[in-house]
């Protein structure tokens, strides 16, 4: 810590961002200094992404502003942010696959020209090679980017940011798709960047990386800033506690329910490169939570159990009978249902009415000779909407007019319309307001009480700790450990998901 008064390179001052009636982040103030790496930590939905997007110009803040070198700035697009020296490296690769490395690096930028007025490709290639060399890469910069590995593509994106003379680089889950060795290389690059005066914003769930390479940690929770301090002030345990907050006991419902026979047994299930050798059991009436970070392979596992993803090895047994699940129809026949992760793009058909959404997966029930009985369907949908307390519109209104929480309830109604016995829920309360959340927890508990086998995939530690009977933790495609309810603790689960040794007796 320096005694000299340093001026931040850039800062967010009281930034809030609302989307309609939903507030994504409130009153965020963060200062970024040159040569410092700040971790932006928090659970899914905490507002990390939105905050970062305000910083580099993808969103304009509803209130508050961004400052660069002490001057207030208005960014109308990422281009403005880039001109001010703030660049974002997104989680998903954002390159032009058919173009060469050097073309990618200079796209959208001022290119050096020769005295004839033509582009000076020789100079550009030289610059590209130099930047890559400093990142530890020696490649032919004329080759198309789609031939490179994912890790090197990530480095090309960093090279692109450096080429734009970025003073602030925001990295969103940079190590999500990388092997251990590639992660180490990336972290050493981050250290070099810091040495050269670049300010880094490091968004990640991986606690070990935060403690490895970051100088400060900013913790967000439910859209608000809850802590901002040097890394030495935190331990993994205290950080997790800050991210997760104190669980509101009344929010969750976990009533005692009888646990029956094994409904689903999975042994050695493998589907490269997403997951391998996964084994677990779920009993009737039991809620198995599956915890893990992004890239752990949980949704891919769910997809395989639902027939949307092929698996190369392993066995699945439903109610003690060996089965093969090759299609969604197979899964349906076996009584398996899946609530997908992305409600808007995977789960609902937004222009369809609430009624039509609820019955989309179970139309056969109301169909005779191919024709749908509108009355039967409407009765069912109305009852389902009431049962799941969907409010905000009549059932013949388009589902897009509903709030996030109500949309999620419609999706749940749709998933349960076939009376499944094995239900896989993937992030069921993501992007859902508190009131709807507690209603959804009641529904989940009810399912278990009625004897369904429930698999709850969730990144929210609070949720998974409160609702599950057992928790399976996955990391980078393997099943790390299964916890019984007596062994539950946020530190232990968080550590298993991130790959740390479990530290005991943390405050």
């Amino acid at each position: 810590m320096s005694l000299v008064e340093r001026r931040p390179v850039c800062a967010l001052r009281n930034v809030s961002k609302r989307f309609g009636s939903i507030s994504a982040c409130q009153d965020i103030s963060i200062e970024l200094f040159a040569g410092e790496a700040v971790a932006l930590a928090g659970e899914n939905g905490a507002g990390k992404s939105t905050t970062a997007k305000c910083l580099y110009g993808f969103h304009s803040p509803t209130t508050g502003h961004v400052e660069v070198d002490g001057r207030e700035m208005t960014f109308r697009s990422p281009r403005d942010g880039e001109a001010a020296g703030i660049v974002m490296i997104p989680q998903e690769l954002d390159l032009f696959p058919e173009l060469s490395i050097v073309e990618n690096m200079f796209m959208g930028q001022q290119r050096p020209r020769t005295r004839f007025g033509t582009f000076d490709w020789r100079a550009m290639k030289k610059t590209a090679r130099e930047i890559l060399a400093r990142l530890g890469l020696r490649l032919d910069v004329s080759q198309p980017v789609h031939l490179l590995s994912a890790a090197n593509c990530k480095l090309i994106e960093i090279a692109r940011a450096l080429n734009r003379n970025a003073r602030v680089i925001i990295m969103d889950e940079p190590t999500a798709a990388l092997t251990d060795r590639e992660v180490r290389r990336l972290l050493s690059i981050v250290r070099d960047l810091k040495k050269n005066g670049v300010a880094i914003v490091y968004i990640t769930h991986r606690l070990d990386e935060i403690f490895d390479v970051c100088d400060r940690i900013v913790v967000l929770r439910d859209g608000s800033l809850v802590d901002d301090g040097p890394v030495s002030d935190f331990t993994e345990g205290s950080l997790v506690k800050k991210m997760v907050g104190r669980p509101l006991e009344s929010l969750f419902t976990h009533s005692p329910h009888p646990i029956g026979d094994v409904a689903l047994e999975v042994v050695g299930l493998t589907s490269e490169p997403a997951f391998r050798d996964i084994s677990f059991q779920v009993r009737k009436g039991e809620i198995l939570g599956i915890s893990g970070l992004i890239g752990a392979g949980r949704s891919e596992l769910a997809n395989a159990l639902f027939g949307l993803r092929a698996y190369a090895a392993g066995t699945i047994a439903v109610n003690e009978r060996r089965v093969r699940i090759n299609s969604v129809a197979d899964a349906f026949r076996l009584g398996i249902a899946y609530l997908p992760e992305e409600r808007r793009s995977q789960g609902l058909i937004l222009p369809f009415s609430i009624q039509h959404n609820i019955t989309l997966a179970s139309l056969k029930r109301f169909t005779r000779l191919g024709i749908v009985s509108e009355r039967g369907e409407a009765d069912f949908a109305r009852k389902a909407a009431t049962d799941f307390t969907v409010s905000g519109a009549r059932i013949d209104a388009a589902v897009s007019v509903l709030s996030g929480g109500n949309q999620q309830k419609v999706l749940i109604a749709k998933t349960l319309a076939r009376n499944p016995e094995i239900i896989i829920l993937d992030e069921p309360t993501r992007g859902v307001d508190v009131g709807a959340k507690s209603e959804i927890y009641r529904i989940i508990d009810d399912l278990a009480r009625r004897g369904c086998a429930v698999i709850l995939i969730s990144s929210e530690l609070n949720e998974v700790l409160a609702m599950s009977d057992r928790i399976l933790v996955m990391r980078e495609g393997v099943a790390v450990r299964t916890f019984e309810r007596s062994e539950f603790s946020p530190e232990a689960i968080g550590a298993a998901a991130a790959g740390q040794k479990v530290l005991s007796n943390v405050a």
Binding site: E98, R111, R134, G136, L137, R138, L139, R167, I189, D192
Partner: protein, 334 residues
């Protein structure tokens, strides 16, 4: 800003992810087409008499020239993620403008200017409707294909216009032993190559076709770029009209019917991906020669002209299916 030499990264072991040279070359969009062209030419030459003569090869190139002139521009349209199927009718319209202007004022340069103006204007209209007008380009150019053909049939009717020799300079004669038509195509190719490498518009076009959302994030002018591609397409139809009339010497209302298919076939066979973002200027030229070779082979083998459409259709289907399969094989599953 740079990272200094004492960087820590040097000490970390990295996997030299360098791709072998042959693989890099094979991933050129035009590579399989060039191979196919060579194989096809040799194959046909072995089987058909009279194919591998200088005179015949030159006549193939003359045919290919007309297609390449337009294909070079349509290539840019497709690279940027759109499509243009109006070129056949547009060529006829431009030919009409050229022919009638030549009839009135004689010469060749003023009619050329008029043809370029006509082509550019229609191209501008196509572009506006397809970008700012938000009408999908297949609809705009398909509609335009018929509108223009109707206009030509109405305006020209049964009229058959003969061109004076002085107006045919773009399609006949030689300069320094090389046919004028081939020179024109070669010059256009060179110009397009220079544009592609050194003009911002062209670099943006191929990026926009390759990854539109990334292009938007970078702030590239998507609509303006595509608009310019359509204008270029129209201009090249104007130029091609001048060459066409020079070659044929006669103007009819049914001129260049079905030409647009040959152009698309040339672009696609040459290796440019129909989805956009992938291709070079070599592709349409190689493709045009390939189409020329195949059509010539058909003629020499006395295959009736009625089979031409069949062959073109099969080629287009074959090329896009091949491209679809190749995509899966070459990409490493990002």
């Amino acid at each position: 800003m740079s990272l200094d030499a004492g960087s820590e990264t040097r000490t970390v072991d990295f996997a030299a992810d360098d791709v072998p040279q042959w693989r890099s070359i094979l991933s050129w969009p035009a590579a399989p087409s060039i191979i196919f062209l060579v194989v096809a030419t040799l194959g046909v030459g072995m089987v058909t008499d009279g194919f591998l003569t200088i005179a015949n090869l030159r006549s193939i190139l003359e045919q290919a020239v007309l297609i390449s002139i337009v294909a070079l521009a349509v290539n840019q349209v497709i690279l940027s993620g759109e499509i243009d199927v109006s070129t056949g009718s547009l060529l006829a319209v431009c030919a009409f403008v050229f022919g009638n202007t030549a009839n009135v004022v004689g010469g060749a340069w003023l009619p050329l200017l008029a043809a370029l103006a006509a082509g550019g204007t229609v191209g501008l209209l196509n572009g506006f409707l397809s970008t700012y007008g938000r009408v999908p380009s297949i609809i705009t150019t398909l509609g335009m294909l018929f509108i223009l053909r109707g206009a030509v049939l109405l305006g020209g009717g049964a009229q058959v216009l003969n061109m004076a020799p002085e107006s045919r300079i773009f399609g006949q004669g030689m300069i320094a032993g090389i046919p004028v038509t081939i020179l024109i195509a070669a010059c256009l190719f060179l110009v397009m190559e220079i544009v592609s490498r050194h003009i911002i518009w062209a670099r943006n076009a191929i990026a926009i076709g390759g990854n539109e959302s990334a292009a938007r994030t970078l702030g590239l002018p998507i609509r303006k770029t595509r608009l310019i591609a359509f204008v270029l397409s129209g201009l090249c139809c104007g130029l091609a009209a001048a060459v066409f009339l020079g070659q044929i010497g006669q103007l009819q209302a049914t001129a260049a019917t079905g030409f647009e298919l040959k152009v698309i076939a040339a672009v696609v066979l040459g290796g440019t991906s129909i989805r956009g973002g992938k291709g070079s200027n070599v592709s349409p030229v190689v493709g045009a020669v390939l189409v020329g070779v195949i059509l010539n082979a058909m003629t020499l083998n006395r295959v009736p002209g009625t089979y031409e459409l069949l062959v073109l259709g099969s080629l287009i289907l074959g090329a896009v299916s091949f491209e679809g399969v190749r995509q899966k094989l070459l990409t490493r599953g990002h």
